[in-house]
């Protein structure tokens, strides 16, 4: 009798359908529990446990969906949101929350979907190699590849090689890629189906050495090529010029977003190109994107202790290059939060690749657990500043009714959660 019972249980657990159901039930229960205990959004821990029960969960859950993956160093979250907005006119869309962009976060996003048409998923650039073969996406959007988190993802080119290998294993997938980023082009160019978008690249320091041969890449106004091998800018199917995205067929579309900055127009252009693969027209895509006013708190204005704070995220030199391009010229004080937790990378030496000299006319308050790394950087850049490691005290120290807060990943999240508390 007991033997029969064990056999029965064994059969039950090794039934794929039951294991899938068990994985989802247990995972979502843990996620809910973790959320109730206020340990963050909970998706990741539940997803991890579910993946232990059913290692194939990612591919099982994505079978019934039309999946689009968005990856790159900068702009993943925004592009995912813009693409979701565009696609929502064609069907229902499920997407992962910002930051939960590794397999555990992705399964948690997929199990909450009920017969959704589209799964638009932001994927960590170092995890694309694991995620893409499981999900078998219809489309992959590749934005850029620059250095980020030096202590973890040590070599940009190593990552590009991984992208190249994984794209070769999913030849049916259409790739939408940035033709202005030599590292992306090298990783993508041998894929059979590529749509190239010329949307600019504000950070070429990582791409001076050719990813193919190590030679020098020469840049001119409209093209780039390696001085040593045949790697060069491919001719794009669409290009961004000012507020307009021009297509090869001669049509042009105005991009008029609520989100600030040239970088978001680039993200929008790439998102629209991905949406066009599903038959959507560019005009209505860009119109749907207008409704997006903030992205997981970015560009949002909040109040902290009576101060109006605009929240901005910049987690690496490329992100900072974009920030400088749209910061207001009215010289309001800037509070910069720098942490060095695992999610930020434990090595903030990249601060020396940011042109803080541009803040010479502004008052800056350095905050976060690595405020002194930033403080020393600002001293050498001769930027007037103070150092205050406590976030709220730092905002008060700016002594202004309005400030721009620019944080790296966990510093941004920390300030955002403070703002939520202040509102309640």
């Amino acid at each position: 009798m007991t033997g029969n019972k064990r056999d029965y249980l064994n059969t039950m657990i090794f039934q794929p359908k039951i294991r899938l159901m068990l994985a989802v039930k247990v995972g979502s229960f843990i996620s809910g529990l973790s959320r109730k205990m206020q340990m963050g959004e909970g998706a990741v821990v539940g997803g991890r446990i579910a993946l232990k029960i059913e290692p194939d969960l990612l591919s099982l859950l994505s079978e019934s969906k039309t999946s689009i993956l968005v990856s790159g160093t900068n702009g993943k979250t925004t592009t995912t949101k813009l693409l979701s907005a565009a696609l929502s006119s064609a069907g229902s869309v499920v997407s992962n929350s910002a930051g939960a962009n590794m397999p555990a976060g992705l399964v948690a996003a997929l199990w909450s979907a009920k017969a959704k048409d589209f799964a638009v998923l932001e994927v960590d650039e170092a995890h694309l190699g694991i995620v893409a073969p499981s999900v078998k996406p219809k489309v992959v959007v590749l934005l850029n590849l620059t250095r980020d988190q030096l202590d973890r993802v040590s070599e940009v080119r190593m990552l590009a090689k991984k992208w190249k290998d994984v794209l070769a294993s999913i030849p049916k997938t259409v790739v939408v890629a940035n033709s202005d980023d030599p590292i992306v082009v090298w990783a993508v160019k041998s894929s059979p189906k590529v749509l190239w978008a010329q949307v600019g690249h504000s950070w070429i320091s990582d791409a001076n050495g050719c990813p193919n041969c190590g030679g020098k890449i020469n840049y001119s106004e409209s093209e780039w090529h390696c001085s040593n091998c045949d790697l060069k800018k491919p001719s794009p199917q669409g290009y961004l010029d000012g507020n307009y995205f021009h297509l090869q067929d001669g049509t042009s579309y105005e991009i008029n977003l609520s989100l600030p900055g040239r970088v978001n127009q680039s993200n929008a252009a790439m998102a629209a190109m991905a949406a066009s693969i599903f038959g959507l027209d560019y005009k209505s895509c860009f119109e749907s994107m207008q409704s997006l006013k903030q992205v997981a708190g970015r560009y949002d204005e909040v109040e902290i202790d009576g101060v109006r704070v605009r929240l901005l995220l910049a987690k690496n030199p490329a992100g900072w290059a974009e920030i400088f391009s749209f910061l207001s010229s009215d010289n309001i004080p800037v509070v910069i939060g720098i942490n060095a937790q695992i999610a930020d990378g434990k090595d903030p030496s990249w601060l020396w690749d940011v042109e803080f000299e541009k803040f010479a006319d502004r008052f800056v308050v350095a905050t976060g657990s690595r405020a002194y790394d930033l403080g020393v950087r600002l001293s050498y850049a001769e930027v007037p500043h103070e150092v205050e490691q406590d976030f709220v005290a730092a905002i008060k120290r700016a002594n202004s009714s309005r400030v721009d807060f620019i944080g790296n990943y966990t510093a941004f999240q920390q300030l955002r959660s403070l703002a939520k508390k202040a509102y309640k």
């Binding site: 340990m39 250095r147 080119r157 320091s205 041969c213 190590g214 434990k346 030496s349 690749d353 050498y380």
Partner: protein, 257 residues
């Protein structure tokens, strides 16, 4: 070049400089300017002529292919060797350190020749990459200077007979996992695995290098840097595991979730 002006060459910032290493040249220049001296950073990109008459040369860290390219150009030019003969100060870190040596290996196992101004050889390590905060105590000529930095390298470096170690490692790995040495010195040529960048975190080392070229270095207010240094040094005593979340995470890790 102008006799009273100090020239600091930032060598191949387009190939090397992965870890914010351009900061080393900035630190040298600013510490001269703040003392009323004239200084200029000369950025020398790859495929440009390399000057041999600068007072300081800084080479940063980089990835394999750019490192090989930089070493090739430096060897071909010979300018760095010439500059060293006429008394220039050279600082290489990470890949830049390896380039200054006799030979190094990138990618596969084949050794490539370096510039040959430091008697060291670097090979790919077989163990895990050395990544993390480092604390080390300087040896002659940096005797007694406590060095702070961050290392991130898979290569290991072995010192030859005609160089001495820059420092002894207290925390971290340094040149290799076995002999406790960090960096190398021969005359006015220094190599190290520390970045942060290294001269930012270690103003005493910056001033030591400067003192080889200029006299009468007045003291500067380094109080902000001293706070940074003490925080970095005390980070070795902290294990930030007090909050609920990290307990939750560490249980997850133990269960291998």
């Amino acid at each position: 070049m102008n006799e009273s002006k100090i020239y600091i060459a930032d060598i191949h910032p387009d190939l090397l400089g992965t870890y914010g290493d351009g900061g080393n040249a900035v630190v040298l220049a600013q510490r001269l300017k703040w003392r009323g001296m004239q200084a200029e950073i000369v950025k020398v990109n790859s495929q440009s002529p390399i000057p041999s008459s600068c007072d300081f040369y800084c080479l940063g860290g980089g990835e394999d292919a750019p490192q090989a390219q930089s070493a090739y150009e430096l060897r071909k030019s010979g300018a760095l060797n010439k500059a060293v003969e006429s008394g220039a100060v050279v600082l290489g870190d990470g890949a830049g350190f390896q380039i200054l040596g006799d030979s190094f290996a990138v990618g596969g196992t084949d050794l490539q020749p370096g510039v040959g101004i430091l008697d060291v050889t670097s090979v790919k390590g077989l163990g895990p990459r050395s990544v993390g905060e480092v604390m080390a105590v300087g040896q002659e000529p940096a005797k007694g200077i406590y060095l702070s930095g961050y290392e991130n390298h898979s290569g290991i470096t072995l010192l030859g007979a005609s160089v001495s170690a820059l420092a002894s490692v207290i925390h971290g790995n340094g040149n290799n996992p076995t002999d406790n040495t960090e960096g190398a010195v021969n005359g006015r040529v220094i190599g190290t695995y520390l970045h942060g960048p290294v001269l930012v975190r270690n103003p005493q080392l910056a001033d030591l290098l400067l003192s080889w070229v200029v006299e009468d270095l007045a003291p500067l207010d380094d109080s902000e840097i001293e706070i940074l240094r003490s925080q970095r040094f005390s980070s070795f005593n902290h294990n930030n595991k007090s909050n609920l979340r990290s307990i939750f995470d560490s249980i997850g890790q133990k269960l291998n979730l």
